[in-house]
């Protein structure tokens, strides 16, 4: 069995094991959940560190494993990592570990909670590890359903039911659309397999006709896009995260949300590149909508959770732009942003959850001067906010700068200007949050706040901050792995284009469009 299968199986086995623990041993549930998350994290860390030394299997994937399942229609359990998902899995495991230490205020039906939590973790890691479209989708659903239940049962605030309702509708519709797109890919490629490696190779030889690419890509874009909160289909995110219990918000906003971006990179870029080019203007416009519009919305928020929710939507725009650039630099940047933002979103929601647990509200106007009272949490919040507005030294900056450079190569200049403009807007709301929550005078009613004093309470924040800093100070740890694996995808995208477009262009006596640059 591959190490990767152990990583996916550990939380799932722990979840099943949890069912055999009698009710009432809440301490034991916690230990099991934390232990499973810890083992998963250590294994993922090992996998990440030893990734360069390992031998490559089929399609350049490492830690590869395939178990035949329904051979007649080509469905197999097949997992493996390349440079793109090895970092995402490490990030997912780190967020899971942090989240397992951030379960404050879960004090009823604890066994159910930890069960769902572990299933969600297993699903997330499985989705990122799968090399089979069927399992890719299956694991995503496996992680998604517990999210809904966790919000519905352990959620907070008066809008909890509305939030559950909204997030469920949106994400189900998104997943369905993506499913239709995936099925269309399966059908139109004619490869008769769900195996991503074979599928990609098949398409390499026999590209999908341009007309069909133009239909399939929007299905994937909007399907996956809803899951990533693509503007203007993003409104589920702030509401949903506002109501979600802290660990669910950390896992979903941090990790699960990246599934859609991952799908676009893994499937859309090599298989329907012409579809992307045809829809490029729309794609860029929507992505700019994310970063500018949601940034402005974030500026108006009065509740810290909503501010973080909107800002996390805005950050997704950066990743979208990286993907739209269809350049090696830009997509490498997009993956780096996915990893960085995963850590950052988890950190921010964790901190907001801590404050909520302490006070019962994260209304910004009711906070103030907290840095004097809770220095540890305060410093972590300052770090989260600075990382969020793209200060160097944190992983986010490395991703953002790559996206900007990549976008400059192939997208119009105002996309670059808009994207960087977002970092100014980001700075406005991040610094306002610091000013209003942490700086200024400490009021009487806020002096009952307690700082995180034990190692267990500090632990989730430390894990995330340390990883953000490591990837920020030496981003090549991540980006060298990523760019190596993005390169074949980009090459395939360009080859496909040449293959489809060149013959017809030659026929018409035009110059072959070799340049990737697209002008609006």
């Amino acid at each position: 069995m591959s190490l990767l299968s152990f990583i996916i199986a550990t939380p799932l086995i722990a979840a099943i094991g949890l069912l055999f623990v009698p009710r009432g041993y809440s301490y034991l549930y916690q230990i099991i959940a934390r232990g499973a998350a810890g083992i998963t994290f250590l294994l993922s860390l090992g996998m990440f560190l030893f990734y360069p030394q390992m031998a490559s299997g089929p399609g350049g994937f490492k830690f590869y494993q395939k178990v035949a399942w329904v051979e007649s229609i080509g469905i197999n359990y097949q997992v493996g990592v390349d440079g793109i998902n090895v970092g995402l899995i490490l990030m997912g495991a780190a967020v899971a570990l942090a989240a397992s230490f951030a379960c404050w205020g879960i004090n009823r039906r604890e066994r159910d909670f930890y069960f769902l939590f572990l299933v969600m973790v297993g699903g997330i890691l499985g989705a990122f590890a799968s090399l089979d479209v069927f399992f890719f989708y299956f694991f995503h659903e496996l992680a998604l359903v517990p999210t809904f239940i966790m919000i519905g049962v352990w959620g907070r605030g008066e809008d909890r039911n509305y939030a559950t309702f909204k997030i469920t509708i949106y994400l189900t519709i998104g997943a369905m659309l993506a499913l239709v797109g995936l099925v269309a890919l399966y059908v139109q490629s004619g490869a008769q397999t769900f195996d991503m490696i074979e599928l990609t190779n098949h398409v390499k030889e026999n590209p999908i006709p341009v007309d069909q690419q133009k239909v399939i890509f929007p299905l994937l874009l909007f399907g996956f896009g809803i899951l990533v909160s693509l503007w203007p289909l993003h409104t589920w995110a702030p509401v949903g995260y506002g109501a979600a219990p802290t660990p669910a918000a950390m896992l979903h906003a941090g990790v699960l949300k990246k599934f859609g971006l991952y799908g676009l990179i893994r499937l859309a870029i090599p298989m329907v590149p012409e579809g992307i080019r045809a829809w490029l203007e729309v794609f860029c416009f929507l992505a700019l909508g994310n970063i500018l519009y949601c940034g402005w919305v974030a500026m108006r928020q009065k509740d810290l959770n909503f501010l973080i929710g909107n800002s996390s939507v805005a950050h997704m725009g950066m990743a979208f732009i990286g993907i739209a650039s269809l350049s090696l630099i830009g997509i490498t940047g997009a993956v780096a942003i996915m990893v960085a933002h995963g850590l950052l979103a988890a950190l921010s929601f964790g901190l907001s959850g801590y404050l909520y647990h302490e006070k019962g509200s994260v209304e910004i106007s009711q906070l103030g001067g907290l840095l004097q009272k809770i220095p540890f949490i305060g410093v972590c919040l300052v770090i989260a906010m600075l990382a969020g507005c793209g200060v160097p030294g944190f992983a986010n900056f490395a991703g953002e700068i790559l996206v900007l450079f990549g976008a400059w190569e192939s997208l119009p200049w105002f996309v670059v200007a808009g994207a960087w403009g977002a970092l100014i807007i980001g700075a406005v709301y991040c610094l306002r949050a610091i000013r209003n929550i942490l700086h200024g005078a400490l009021s009487e009613e806020n002096s009952q706040f307690n700082d995180a004093s034990t190692l267990t309470t500090k632990f989730p924040f430390l894990v995330l901050v340390i990883l953000l800093v490591i990837f920020g100070v030496y981003p090549r740890l991540l980006t060298d792995r990523v760019s190596q694996s993005v390169e074949p995808l980009i090459n395939q995208a360009n080859d496909t284009t040449a293959q489809i477009v060149a013959p017809s262009a030659a026929l018409l006596g035009q110059n072959t469009p070799t340049a990737v640059r697209v002008d609006f």
Partner: protein, 618 residues
């Protein structure tokens, strides 16, 4: 020698980390670590300097690749040439004195260790800019300098005004950086490299490499300097930044950080087209003039010095614009000495009168604080440009270049420069007379005592440096580092000298007539409305507040409204109403009923199988 440069760069970082993680409970130890780091940095910089003089070596650099993908390679390294060595000496030299001074000035503050930790972080970031080999590396440290400045301005973050000032400084810098990074990306896109040495070669081989975008790219890069060096129209943050502790104002907002913009312009001087330089020179000239006018009517001792800093930075930027980067570096260096001296002197006064900053609450401090008095006088005269103090030489170098019309100079700019020189003498002597002469106007001023030795010693050292820096050949050293011909602006030196002499005499007579033994500002009576315009800094802050309100805030209000009522209201509810059946089915989910989820989940899988099997069968 490169190893030395690496050590100089990383010592302050180690100090910051050491204070943050180990020494923060021990205040004295924190101060010692921080002082030790920058002090050793200064000694090592001296060794570098001497070695550089002895061997006469040109530039050396060593770098690692920090980030790379496809055609993008971002280096991280250290570069040693006369330009960076000069700046190293300024940053570590003036920095060391200010660190030592802080040890006494900040005594008793409950966050003493945090103060020294932040200072070390700042020093690290600043040295990163100085030693950078690569545009993006410079940008990274540029941002880190912004962050450490944010932390230090907001050092007393419980005070709303300090917290606001920190935020304002960071955001104004961000506005400038917006252009800076676009300029960097543009240059990379056209010239294909980010490394300064490579870029310089590319530009030397083909001056037209940027084509029609040359001026735009240059001006975008200049935006970075407009933010960091607080040039008009982004100058508004610097006076507010005086909310930080006074030694911080001396180090960051007078001697080093704000000079980073000028240093950057000199470092990448080769990218600027003649048109871009013309714009740069005008921005510098306008800043110099506006800030000098504003300084005339301020009452807060630190704010007067802040406006004076703005005005002098305008001089330096103007010097770059009139093709005289060496003169800019010269003025940067002398200004670092005398402005740090003036700020530390002001700190000494503020310390003595129990943290009052209004000059009208001081007076008659001459006998009570002799060391402060004499060093402050020397700093004032150096700033005014009185022979033979350092300011005289560097200001003349700037003015002479402005007068040199054959090499980018301009008669009007020269005129502005002379007027600013007169205004400088006027406001500085106003400050000086009101603070130190006349009679004590408050009880605190009456009881003032000279500051402790550890504070007055740096004053004396800086005073000596301000006095003699004009004779050290700094301009020639800098122009060697820039690889420029030391062109003949000195032909105009006599003209510049004559005019600036007249300007000083004029400014001094006005100040003497108005403020010698004055009890209140007579100018308000005479000028009335104009005086209050100056007092309110031409209402620029208010105009900005208004502009931000009507643009940014309105946009964000509209977006939030749309989000609430159109996107989530209409659309979502519309979808809800339209697909009522789906809605009903999904509404069951509110109960958290696991069977429902299982049902949906199976449904999803069924859809796949339907398609797959269906296709196989048909």
């Amino acid at each position: 020698m490169l190893t030395l440069a690496w050590i100089i760069l990383f010592l302050p970082l180690l100090s910051a980390l050491g204070i943050a993680f180990a020494a923060h409970k021990d205040q004295q130890l924190s101060a010692k670590i921080s002082i030790g780091a920058i002090g050793s940095g200064f000694i090592l910089s001296l060794i570098l300097f001497i070695n550089h003089l002895m061997t006469g070596s040109g530039s050396q650099e060593g770098a690692i690749t920090w980030l790379q993908a496809a055609g993008l390679e971002i280096g991280f390294g250290v570069r040693i040439d006369s330009l960076s060595i000069l700046m190293l000496l300024v940053v570590t030299g003036v920095g060391s004195l200010i660190h030592i001074y802080s040890q006494a000035y900040m005594q008793g503050d409950k966050s003493y260790s945090r103060y020294f930790g932040s200072l070390s972080l700042f020093t690290f970031s600043m040295l990163g800019i100085v030693l950078a080999t690569d545009f993006v590396q410079m940008f990274i440290f540029w941002e880190l300098v912004g962050v450490s400045s944010y932390l230090l301005i907001g050092f007393w973050f419980e005070k709303p005004s300090a917290a606001d000032a920190a935020k304002k400084a960071f955001l104004s810098n961000r506005m400038g950086d917006f252009g800076f990074i676009l300029g960097i990306i543009m240059i990379w896109g056209l010239a294909g490299s980010l490394n300064f040495t490579d870029l310089k070669e590319v530009f030397a081989a083909n001056p037209e490499v940027l084509g029609t975008l040359a001026t735009v790219a240059g001006l975008l890069v200049f935006c970075g300097a407009v933010g960091k060096s607080a040039q008009f129209p982004l100058h508004v943050w610097l006076p507010d930044a005086m909310e930080g502790p006074t030694p911080v104002s001396a180090l960051i907002h007078a001697a080093t950080m704000v000079a980073a913009g000028v240093y950057m312009l000199c470092r990448v001087y080769f990218v600027f087209s003649p048109d871009a330089l013309t714009v740069i020179s005008w921005i510098g000239g306008i800043t110099a003039l506006l800030a000098a006018l504003m300084a005339l009517q301020q009452d807060d001792i630190k704010r007067i010095l802040a406006y004076s800093t703005l005005s002098q930075l305008g001089y330096m930027v103007m010097a770059v614009g009139v093709h005289a980067p060496a003169a800019a570096m010269f003025h940067l260096t002398t200004h670092a000495f005398f402005k740090a001296l003036l700020f530390l002197g002001a700190g000494s006064v503020i310390y003595a009168v129990h943290h009052k900053q209004d000059i009208w609450q001081m007076g008659g401090l001459r006998e009570k604080m002799p060391t402060t008095y004499w060093t402050f006088l020397l700093g004032t005269l150096a700033l005014c440009g009185v022979f033979p103090l350092s300011g005289f030489f560097s200001k003349d170098a700037v003015l002479a270049s402005a007068a040199d019309t054959a090499h980018g100079g301009n008669g009007i700019l020269f005129g502005i420069g002379v007027v600013v020189a007169a205004l400088t003498t006027w406001y500085m002597l106003r400050l000086f007379f009101i603070t130190f002469h006349g009679t004590a106007r408050t009880k605190a001023a009456e009881d003032a005592k000279e500051s402790p030795r550890v504070m007055s010693l740096p004053l004396i050292i800086l005073a000596v440096a301000s006095a003699i820096a004009g004779f050290l050949g700094i301009e020639g050293f800098a122009s060697h580092g820039l690889g420029l011909e030391h062109h003949g602006a000195h032909a105009h030196a006599t003209l510049a000298m004559a005019f600036s002499f007249l300007a000083v005499i004029f400014g001094a007579s006005v100040a003497f007539a108005l403020y010698w033994n004055a009890e209140a500002d007579p100018i308000q009576r005479h000028l009335g409305g104009f005086s209050s315009i100056l007092r309110n800094r031409f209402y620029i802050d208010e105009i900005y507040d208004f502009l931000i309100l009507v643009t940014h805030e309105t946009l964000s209000q509209i977006a939030a409204w749309m989000d609430r009522w159109v996107l989530s209201g209409l659309i979502v509810r519309g979808v809800h109403g339209g697909a009522d059946l789906t809605g009903r089915a999904l509404r069951m989910l509110q109960t958290g009923n696991i069977q429902t989820y299982a049902f949906l989940f199976v449904l999803g899988i069924a859809v796949i199988i339907y398609f797959v099997v269906g296709r196989n069968v048909l």
